[in-house]
Amino acid sequence: MKPVVCVRGLERGYEGKAVLDNLNLDIAPGEFVALLGRSGSGKSTFLRALADIDTEVSGSGMVVVPEGLAVVFQDARLLPWARVLDNVVLGLAGGDARARGRTALAEVELAGRERAWPGELSGGEQQRVALARALVRKPQLLLADEPFGALDALTRLKMHALLRRLCAAHQPAVLLVTHDVDEAIALADRVLVLEQGRIAADIVTRGTAAAALRHTLLGLLGATQELAGTS
């Protein structure tokens, strides 16, 4: 199957310091990839390069991404002055845009909140609106930059279940940037570990025991053995 994302020899640098170093990656249609890495490993830079919003860094390399691309940021990034439905359908063309927006809001269990202001919603609800805004565009590739990082643990688990359900229904390829090993294991088909701008590990999660995978990933991220041993 032809990959939906194709990255070859991607280099990005900031003030003379290399952030991404000769990075290569293919993502298949519908594949859910989690990108793990410590702070400063270059994972956000990589996602921003794919989304073509990394204007502040210089670099070279080839990036092929599909036209249908949506991004979910760590902050929900809703316009505070636009109502929820207007946020969801922002920039969407077509007479049925609002109807599609309503459907998307219902999918993230926010039916009835179309006319609310983002400031009236909780953090988890705001992130669900951001998910609806991404999915209503029917993306072939969904880029998510630590989308649940600012949420509490219980809300995060609920969001995991929701995201799994939505991805099963819409089948976009997903690149989820996270620093949470358990989140990566819970959601992804394939886990990448980024280390100093290079892919240090590329692991398919199917058929791998979760505990062993967790141990391996924590080890790759430089956690101590005792920490990796607990569960």
Partner: protein, 295 residues
């Protein structure tokens, strides 16, 4: 095997009989929260209309001072004298015609100055070319006090209404331009990123991100502009004017009619407060999403 392991664990979990040992740490507080001064640093809750206390006390002092003859009526006439004069001025029509003249002047100046400020701020805020052509000019203009332009404007426009409206409009233009330009340039980069990711076209970008994002800054500019319009109004009405509240005041100054002066000042205060209230209402209507934060 697991049951054997679980059994000893059950005992410590059972509630221990007898009184619990007193906590040794001093930071543990048990009891009603009222004992904890948690509002130590926060301001007390606002009382509705509380802001009127200061003016009310001032008025009370004035009434008492006049009633007890502590205040020389030539310095400050009694409140009832002012009220009487106010009523007299109102009933013989002088107040109304002067008030209308002043309000029209201020209104026209505000309208022209606001429109010019918005147009120039949009041109210079949204394009580099506009910034290079216009922003420098405005900064140079800003360095020259408006009142210093009066002789020049009198030469150009004469001493009639156009000169007066122009002075007010120029005073209004500056705060509108400054605040709106600043707000346009201050749109958060993360929203610009969002616009790129959502592939908005330029019109959608203006409609959904730039203009609503800059609206709060514009409204602040409008409040400052109203204050600037008032200062300019007072000045132009004391130069070669033959009508208006300012003319009425300076004429009364010539004849030593302190009560008329005070009545004129009261009208200025009413005009100013009305404009301020209108701008606040406008802000509330235009920024409904901010009400959720103000409570």
């Amino acid at each position: 095997m697991s049951s054997v392991l679980l059994k000893p664990a059950a005992h410590p979990a059972a509630p221990s009989p007898g009184p619990a040992p007193a906590p040794e740490s001093k930071t543990i507080r048990i009891g009603p929260r009222a004992h904890i001064p948690r509002r130590r640093f926060a301001l007390a809750k606002p009382v509705p209309g509380g802001i009127l206390l200061g003016p009310a006390l001032l008025l009370l002092g004035w009434v008492i001072g006049a009633w007890a003859n502590w205040i020389d009526p030539r310095v400050l006439p009694a409140p009832w004298t002012v009220a009487q004069t106010f009523w007299q001025l109102a009933s013989d029509g002088r107040l109304e015609s002067n008030f209308t003249t002043s309000a029209v002047r201020a209104g026209e100046g505000l309208a022209f100055g606001t429109v010019a400020g918005v147009v120039v701020a949009l041109l210079s805020g949204l394009t580099r070319t506009g910034e290079y052509l216009l922003d420098g000019l405005v900064q140079v203009k800003r360095a020259v006090p408006v009142l210093a332009l009066i002789p020049l404007l009198v030469m150009w426009l004469g001493i009639g209404e156009p000169m007066k409206v122009a002075i007010i409009a120029i005073s209004v233009f500056i705060p509108i331009y400054m605040q709106l330009h600043f707000a346009l340039r201050g749109i958060e980069a993360r929203y610009i990123e969002l616009a790129c990711v959502l592939r908005l076209n330029y019109l959608q970008f203006l409609r959904w991100i730039v203009l609503p994002g800059a609206l709060a800054g514009f409204l602040l500019g409008l409040r400052l502009a109203v204050a600037a319009a008032w200062i300019a109004l007072v000045v132009v009405e004391q130069i070669n004017a033959t009508s208006g509240i300012g003319y009425m005041i300076s004429l009364a100054g010539t004849y030593g009619q302190t009560d008329v002066i005070i009545a004129g000042l009261v009208v200025y205060a009413i005009l100013g407060l009305t404009a301020e209230v209108l701008v606040r209402l406008l802000a509330k209507a235009l920024l409904p999403w901010q009400r959720t934060f103000a409570g």
